[in-house]
Amino acid sequence: MRPPHNLLRRLLLPVLLCCALLTGCGVAAPDVPLDQPGREPVTITVWSAYSGRELDVFNEVLRRFEQDHPWITVRSVGSQNNDRMVAALRGGPAPDVQWAPQSDLAGVYCPSGGWRDLSHYIERDGLDPGVFVPAAWKATSAGGKRCALPVLGDIYGLYYNKKKLAEAGFTEPPRTMSQLDAYARKLTRRDGQGDIRVAGYAPLTLFYANRPAYEAQLWGAEWFRKDGDSAVSTDPDWRRLLAWRKKLIDWYGYDKLRAFTAGAGAQYSASNAFQTGQLAMMLDGEFRTAFVENEAKELDYGTAPFPAPDDHPQQYGAGAWTVHLAGVTHRSAHPDAAWRLVKWLATSPKAQVALAEGLHNVPTTKAALRSPKLAAIPHFKPFLDMAADPHSKVPPSTPAGVSYQDSMAAFFQQWESGEVQDAGKGLAEQARKIDSFLDQVTIGMERR
């Protein structure tokens, strides 16, 4: 039986070693010209996460692009999640354009070269960055490359139940965090056993849209210092944020509040606690207006900017951004046509307004934010104003995706439950953890 072993040694092992060495090698981009001077007919493919009605809206807008660019045919593929998008950048059938509903991904797509650097096209076409809101433009580059354009966005603000506020004697939504605290206490209703029946505002992390990613923006807390290191232990806004949350959670009683949030209806369902009247105020994105319109027509509610920290009153009016990005994949065989689509989606007023109107998302160009058509959508105007506010921010992108946000989300939960008692020490540990992980992920790369 020696010969088979010899065969194994002679053939199989080298094959395996080759396979191992080949693993992880990216798929080479096709050698295609960046510019297409003529108007030869081309077909390009665009991937998005949209499905159902939203995909119909998106496809309708794409038809208008085809009318404006008759030599370009667009094939739209919906229901593509991040995992599929990343896989497509590596191998298999690749689209020409990808539409990602998360600005965090620029930190991965740009430095890796998964999406092409658009500097050439931006310069060639003289695209003025000033047409975009600053936060949206900021979200499109990472690692020294600008690989995307902002195509739409979500902005988070305050939803409040007008009827409940009026019953409690409030005529206006809260404008400061201390007011939010006072409103929340007054609006809360408990039963005989102290269980919460109606919560004024439920600040537990991971309940609905309560995420450090949004709240840091609303408190003006910085994630990273200028030198690239974590700022969570040095920026005092983080401590203020934590102290504010803990005070209100302790007033509710952690277990009581946890029981309330655990029993509340799912975030994206008709039994959402705000829509059923069990929650008087909450943080959420502009898209909630469409849910309420469809699922809780009778709800008497209002929308407003989220309250500002008491010591940063100038922050009032700002919202927390998540920007949707569109980029040209490095494997696109028709990068020029793909760029034309990305640019049109990002800058054409009719595309921006039609998408924002149909999808109930906020546009990312300054001109579209002033559209009277969008302002006419009930409860939508405050979100347009928030999007245009210069204090509105977007979370930073890193090559490790949202790891720094996850780390803080876990810490927030420990802090809220009382598992962590010393905020300063905890934040210092988080800063070390975030830095250590980003250092590990970016070995051999320029992070700072």
């Binding site: 039986m1 088979p4 199989l12 094959v15 395996l16 070693l17 396979c19 191992a20 060495l21 693993t23 992880g24 090698c25 990216g26 991040n82 995992d83 990343v86 950048l89 590596r90 509903p101 998360q102 965090d104 991965v108 797509y109 430095p111 890796s112 070269g113 998964g114 991971l206 309940f207 849209a209 995420r211 990613a213 946890r258 029981a259 949030t261 655990a262 029993g263 509340a264 799912a266 975030q267 994206y268 090559p399 490790a400 995706g401 949202v402 790891s403 946000q405 996850d406 989300a409 876990a410 939960q413 420990q414 439950s417 598992e419 250590s436 590990q440 992920v441 070995i443 051999g444 790369m445």
Partner: protein
């Protein structure tokens, strides 16, 4: 003496014939082994070697992997989430697996003693195993909802203040264990077959010796079903080390469900951040596939060691009995 020259000649002929035969036999063996070798290469050897290689690289899933030496391995010493993942997986391995095995064995024993309706009971206990894991996890999220779930409603009707189940870091793992115990139909069926297979004469002999029920269980049933118990324990331990789906579904459905980030994995307070969940997060959410490969190799080594130790222990247990 005339025969002497013939011997070497004969020997040479025989050895040539033998070499020819062995060559033919070897190619036949190679041919027969080819499908297995192909499967082994594609599904085991290649991924394993690729994992080893990737563990020495920085790889973001998109750009080519860059060799960075042992830096990913060194990060194991600084990764605090790793300890959380190990702790949670150890809980499932050391508490969850024994509870599941004992429960499944207990149910099998009860059914084996049933005089009527054994078939119905067998079906009833086996059916949950046929349910898709994701659907079962979602069903338990509804059942164990602290406010509106039927379990707490029932408990409160008898004056018991039910816990927060999946929403409480102290109860999240026991709640997952309840789900797993409900789905032990596969283990129950093999235990039942083994228990029913124990020769009746052994029990009769034990009866004559005056053995009680516990002694019969310890000295007759358990030794007789030992191979099945070992098989079940090893497969359950490996499953526990790969514990992912239930934790993923429950955590994401309870913490918003539609979030595109990874912060919900491990909810609440990282109490369900099992080792494979951490691996998934690192590889597919943080684009840190080099370090995820380190974790995968570690998981492979631990699974191998656990299976090895359990099999060694089981053979000692057999010789002690």
């Amino acid at each position: 003496m005339t025969t002497l020259p013939l011997r070497p000649r004969n020997r040479t002929t025989a050895s040539t014939r033998s070499a020819g035969r062995s060559k033919r036999v070897n190619w036949a063996v190679v041919g027969l082994m080819a499908p297995w070798a192909l499967g082994f290469t594609v599904f085991f050897a290649y991924p394993l070697l690729a994992n080893v290689y990737l563990s020495l690289t920085r790889y973001d899933l998109i750009s080519p992997a860059t060799y960075i030496g042992l830096d990913n391995w060194a990060f194991l010493l600084h990764d605090e989430a790793l300890l959380t993942g190990v702790r949670n997986s150890a809980w499932i391995l050391l508490i969850g697996v024994p509870v599941k095995l004992v429960f499944a064995f207990f149910v099998a024993l009860l059914i084996s003693r049933a005089r009527r309706g054994a078939g119905l009971l067998r079906t009833v206990f086996y059916l949950p195993h046929l349910m898709p894991l994701v659907a079962a996890a979602l069903a338990f999220v509804v059942l164990l909802n602290p406010s509106s779930g039927p379990v707490n409603t029932l408990l409160s009707s008898v004056g018991i203040d039910g816990p927060l189940w999946f929403d409480d870091p102290r109860w999240a793992k026991p709640s997952l264990l309840m789900l797993d115990s409900w789905m032990v139909g596969n283990l129950m069926v093999i235990f039942l077959a083994a228990v029913l297979d124990v020769p009746q004469q052994l029990y009769e002999a034990a009866d004559l010796d005056g053995a009680g029920k516990l002694r019969k269980l310890w000295h007759v049933t358990l030794p007789a079903v030992r191979p099945v118990l070992v098989f079940a324990a090893v497969t359950a331990a490996i499953d526990a080390l790969q514990y992912f789906t239930q934790a993923y579904v429950v955590a994401t459905s309870l913490s918003g469900g539609a979030t595109t980030g990874a912060e919900s994995l491990g909810y609440p307070n990282d109490s369900t951040l099992f080792f494979p969940v951490l691996l998934y997060k690192q590889g597919f959410r943080y684009f840190n596939m080099g370090y995820a490969s380190v974790l995968a190799l570690l998981l492979f080594a631990v699974s191998f060691c656990v299976a090895f130790v359990m099999l060694r222990r089981a053979s000692r247990w057999a010789s002690d009995m």
